[in-house]
Each structure stands twice: as C-alpha cells, then as structure tokens.
C-alpha cells in the first residue's frame, strides 16, 4: 500500500540534476535510511534524470516527470519519465558499456541504476518517450 506520494516536473536543464536527486532523497528520508541507502537512491536518480536530458531531449528542451511513492513495507518507488525520442532496443541499451553518445559517456548508467536499487524497469516507445522505474527497499538505521 502507498502511504505517501510526491510528484514534480522539472525542465530538462542539466542544472536540475542535483536538484532532482536531492529532492527525491529528502522525501525518502522519512523511511530513516542509512547514508549508504540515501546515496544509492541519489546516484540511481541522477543517472535516470541525466539520461532524459542527454538522450531523451538531446536536441531540445522538455519536461521531466518524477514521482516518488513510499510504500508501507518501506519500499521507495521512483518513476522518471520523459517525452523525448525513446529507445528502439531497450535490451541493448541496458547492456553494460552500450552508449549512443561517445565522448566521456561510459555506457554504464543503466548498470549503476540496476546495482544501486532492487529493481529497475524501463519502458519506452520511439517518438513518445521513456519511463524508468526504480524500486528500493529501505532497511534503515533502526535495525
């Protein structure tokens, strides 16, 4: 059951990367996470938001839609959605080291999201956009 929910929309400007991850982390703090758990959430959210900016809205400015749901079993579910270009082959995109942008991009964003959360779901349609869902159970400091 969802016990608390938060929604926000930000422009796909790179300056919002730190704002988005910090805001999601602050909202998740009500579950009393450890510092490591908070960092894991921040890192995964940073990857997803950056992808919306550098890939989804590569040649334009758009909106990024973020939802955070807190479940009663101490689970945080973060949804990050863009209405950008979409991904044609999700399986391939999720492979470690796969990147469509050269330069200093390592192609490890999805790998980071996967290993820093309990579950990563990616849905996408070319021309319509991409939705990334991150689930993480918070064990917290109190145990």
């Amino acid at each position: 059951m969802i016990i608390n929910e938060f929604k926000m929309t930000v422009d796909s400007r790179s300056v919002n990367e730190s704002f988005a991850r910090a805001t999601v982390a602050t909202f998740s703090a009500q579950l009393d996470p450890t510092l490591e758990e908070i960092n894991d959430i921040k890192t995964a959210v940073s990857e997803a938001v950056t992808n919306c900016i550098v890939h989804g809205y590569k040649n334009c400015l758009g909106k990024i839609y973020i939802t955070v749901k807190i479940h009663d079993d101490s689970k945080v579910v973060v949804t990050i959605r863009d209405k950008g270009c979409g991904i044609s082959d999700i399986k391939k995109a999720r492979e470690p080291l796969f990147t469509t942008l050269g330069g200093d991009r390592a192609g490890l964003g999805f790998s980071v999201m996967e290993s820093f959360t309990d579950k990563l779901t990616v849905r996408s349609k070319v021309g319509f956009g991409t939705t990334v869902t991150l689930c993480k159970r918070i064990h917290g400091r109190t145990k």
């Binding site: 790179s14 894991d40 921040k42 490890l108």
Partner: protein, 105 residues
C-alpha cells in the same frame, strides 16, 4: 564542483571538490586535460577526498583521463574515494586500469 591543480615537475595533482555529475563535469575535464597536455606528467593523481557525490559521470572523468594519459605512458591514481564513489568505480572496473583507493574519514 571545482578543481585545484598543482604540478611539481613529475606529478599533476588534482584536488576535486563538490558534486560530480553531467552538469558539473565538463569544465573540470577541460581544465585537467589542458594541464595534462601542457605538462605531460608522469603521473596524475585525482584526489576525491572532498567529493560529496558522484554518478557515472565520474567514471567518464576517470576513464577519459586514463585514455589521454596512456598516449604517453602516464600513470593514473585515484585517491580519497568515499564508499559510494568507490562502489561506482568498482562497478566500472576502474580498479583494473588505475590505482584506486578509499579515503580515511
């Protein structure tokens, strides 16, 4: 995010400060590459002691400098990593190309 760079004739020491993400990495990278090209150091140390956050942009930062340095056999060392940054670097296998170590905090 900022970087302080010092060169002693052999080693280029880069002290990074703040949060490393896609937004903050580019100017830092240009600064460091500029100094690497000019100084041709035998070794570059990237000190992460004062880095408070890092995502996969940090991987790109380390990997890119590694590639540049290996063009003239320079060595790369990454020090002072937080446990979060260390986790990200290990995931990328950066421990196989550079000497990486955690900081004491």
């Amino acid at each position: 995010m900022s970087v302080k760079i010092q060169f002693d004739g052999e080693t280029l020491y880069c002290q990074l400060n703040g949060e490393i993400d896609h937004h903050t990495t580019l100017p830092i990278r240009l600064d460091i590459d500029d100094r690497i090209e000019n100084c041709r150091p035998q070794k570059v140390i990237l000190d992460f002691t004062d880095v408070t956050f890092m995502d996969s942009s940090g991987i790109g930062l380390v990997m890119g400098r590694y590639k540049l340095l290996s063009e003239f056999n320079g060595k790369l060392e990454v020090t002072g990593l937080s446990s979060n940054s260390y986790k990200v670097m290990r995931l990328a296998g950066l421990d196989r190309i550079a000497n990486i170590s955690k900081g004491v905090k």
